[in-house]
């Protein structure tokens, strides 16, 4: 119970310790304000990206340093700033609190809590705009980042420190992949940061609730700049999230950051740029829209062993319109990242979930990080799938196909079927190796397609119960002849149960 005497003694103590001091600050005068933008006269020595303090504790950031005025974006309630107000320099570049205290929290761009769980007591701060590391500090991607999704971990593997784009139309399961990936990091010592840019608050609330349900919030921070936030908050949100991730990376840990999504980020930046009267370019985006994303994504990296070997993996999301991946922002981000996972609405509605189009998806560096056993077992999977897609159209002609083609088609169908995966059901790498092996070696070809799901489930149960020790050893090293024989034995054992 709180005692009034205790409170009054604390207050008395505070009063005793309180000293009067002066606050000396360089100032400028607001000459124009509106649409989240203020133009300030004066502030001759202000730095680019410096935080400015306006009356009523509204913060701004200097973006346009012009001959006689400074254009800045406002982060708070812009209605509280009016013409003639004084803007003070803080001599601080925009910073965000970082550290483990942020785990399990939902914060805004400035690192202020939005979840009602109280103040975040944080002593360490990182600048939001930090320069990406140079070549000496980095090393190539060497460790895999398992998403738990068969189609990704097998064909489009992601390495720790990689930047892999998730691209697709609306409602194709982009965020679902991000969510599954976060859930799959449980117990893997990977800290996750989810940056929601211009998202509906209800969607983010649902996302957070799901993470809580699966116990994933314990190692996750959600940075939220919803669609009702000023464009400045949306513009800086990914940089703030990146700094939070960099803290883990710099301390030798592994972090995963998801930017959901960078199309809305580009739109927010376009809005700011147009209001700041910067010249518009293609699709009215400003000239530096490429740099906007390249400097952000370049910050994802795998540190050298000398610097602790930490990593920051980035999964940016881009929403396309009518599957047009050749639009301005998608092409920009595709060229910046180390590959892309392309989600097709056609596949999504035909029931293939995740709706990953293997033909258009690629991982440029992740292959080097894929574990040996997976690499061996995947082998011709992508090739077989491509062949199947091509032959699929012939299949429509029916019975005129030769035996070999029919067999190829049947194998393709099995592969397509095993690559389907429900949401919130990430698989271990051993389970993935086994099911892909089973499909590749033709154990599934003899069964009806609708039986495959059942067989798959049975396989996982068998692995977890009867072959627990062997399953554990599966991920260590490559697949030897001995191992292969054992795997075949397991597949045969499972298949036997379904042969009637």
């Amino acid at each position: 119970m709180i005692r009034p005497e205790e409170i009054s003694s604390i207050i008395r103590d505070r009063i005793k310790k309180f000293t009067l001091d002066q606050d000396i600050a360089e100032t400028g005068k607001v000459i124009q304000v509106g649409d989240g933008i203020a133009r300030v006269y004066g502030l001759k020595n202000v730095m680019y990206n410096e935080m400015l303090l306006f009356p009523n504790d509204v913060f701004g950031m200097a973006l346009n340093l012009e001959e006689d005025s400074v254009g800045c974006v406002l982060f708070g309630d812009t209605t509280k700033v009016k013409e003639g107000d004084i803007a003070k320099r803080t001599k601080r570049i925009l910073e965000v609190p970082v550290g483990e205290a942020l785990l399990g929290r939902v914060v805004n761009t400035l690192g202020q809590p939005l979840d009602g769980k109280g103040e975040i007591k944080q002593t360490e701060f990182y600048e939001m705009e930090r320069k990406a590391l140079g070549v000496i500090a980095r090393q190539p991607v060497v460790e895999p980042l398992q998403t738990g999704i068969k189609a990704i971990d097998s064909m489009i593997p992601i390495g720790r420190g990689q930047r892999e784009l998730i691209i697709g139309d609306r409602q194709t399961g982009k965020t679902a992949i991000a969510l599954d990936t976060i859930i799959n990091q449980k117990g893997k010592d990977v800290f996750c940061i989810y940056v929601a840019i211009g998202q509906k608050e209800s969607s983010v609330a649902k996302f957070v609730r799901t993470l809580e349900e699966y116990g994933a919030m314990a190692y996750t921070t959600v940075v939220m700049a919803g669609s009702s936030e000023p464009p400045a908050m949306q513009y800086m949100a990914p940089y703030a999230g990146c700094s939070i991730g960099e803290y883990f990376r710099d301390n030798g840990k592994h972090a995963l950051i998801i930017y959901d999504d960078l199309s809305k980020h580009a739109v927010a930046y376009r809005e700011i740029s147009l209001l700041l009267r910067r010249p518009p370019g293609r699709e009215a985006y400003p000239g530096d829209v490429f740099y906007l994303h390249s400097r952000l994504l370049e910050r994802a990296s795998k540190l050298s062993d000398k610097l602790g070997g930490g990593s920051l993996t980035a999964l940016p999301i881009i929403e396309t319109k009518a599957e047009d991946i050749s639009a301005y922002i998608p092409t920009n981000v595709i060229s910046i990242t180390d590959g892309q996972i392309y989600l097709s609405s056609r596949l999504f509605y035909s029931g293939r979930r995740p709706a990953i189009n293997a033909g258009l998806s690629v991982s440029r560096v992740g292959g080097a990080a894929q574990i040996k056993a997976m690499k061996q077992v995947v082998g011709q999977l992508r090739f077989a799938l491509a062949q199947y897609t091509e032959l699929e159209s012939f299949a429509k002609f029916g019975s005129d196909l030769d035996k070999a083609t029919l067999a190829q088609l049947r194998r393709g169908q099995s592969i397509v079927e095993i690559l389907k995966q429900g949401q919130f059901s990430p698989l271990s790498v051993q389970q993935q190796i086994m099911i892909i092996f089973m499909a590749n070696e033709g154990y599934l070809d003899e069964f009806e397609i609708d039986k495959i799901e059942e067989i798959e489930k049975e396989l996982y149960i068998t692995l977890d119960t009867e072959f627990k020790d062997f399953t554990k050893s599966l991920a260590d090293g490559g697949i030897t002849d001995e191992k292969k024989a054992k795997m075949a034995e397991i597949c045969e054992h499972v298949a036997m149960k379904f042969r009637s």
Binding site: I11, R14, L20, D21, Q22, D23, I24, A25, T27, K29
Partner: protein, 179 residues
């Protein structure tokens, strides 16, 4: 708002052409002109008017250039402004000239807000304190503002020194909230 960029360039050009070391004397002339324009706002209005011909505007300013003891440069400046249709910028040009000279002379104009009228000795103390703090000569003007509550707030065009009770109480309030 008027075209301040152009006014600043005219002011810089004037200083370049004037090439004088006697900036205090120039400052006096600038301030007299500023005072005249302040006392007689009609002059600025006439100069900014698009209806009145440039020739007539010049004739209004004639006594200033011919009968005063001002340097010839002023006459030339007025002629140039008339030629370029920029007589409407005269207020801004004078403002920038004053700013420039004050900067060169290491002088800063400060408005000091206090809760009560201060005694002369106290005013001097504050001015000396500020002068020490910013390492510049201070040209002060005192204003009574009861909202300050105590202490003072010194404001210039590009900085603010807040040593008021109002701010201290606000700081104290915030420290109690964070407790």
């Amino acid at each position: 708002m008027k075209d301040t960029k152009a006014a600043e360039r005219y002011a810089n050009g004037f200083i370049d052409a004037f090439q004088t070391d006697d900036l205090p004397e120039l400052l006096v002339e600038v301030r007299v002109l500023k005072e005249v324009l302040h006392v007689e706002p009609e002059i600025s209005e006439i100069l900014a008017s698009h209806v009145i011909k440039e020739k007539d505007k010049l004739s209004i300013l004639d006594p200033f250039s011919t009968e005063s003891k001002f340097s010839d440069y002023w006459q030339n400046l007025i002629k140039l402004l008339s030629e370029k249709n920029r007589l409407n910028l005269i207020d801004e040009i004078i403002y920038f000239l004053e700013q420039y000279i004050l900067r060169e002379l290491n002088i800063v104009k400060i408005t000091i807000n206090t809760a009560h009228e201060l005694a002369g000795e106290m005013k001097e103390k504050i001015v000396n304190f500020l002068s020490d703090k910013i390492k510049k000569e201070v040209e002060s003007s005192f204003v009574v503002d009861p909202e300050v509550l105590g202490g003072f707030i010194a404001e210039s065009d590009n900085f603010i020194v807040d040593s008021s009770v109002k701010r201290s109480l606000e700081q104290f309030r915030l420290s109690l909230i964070k407790m």
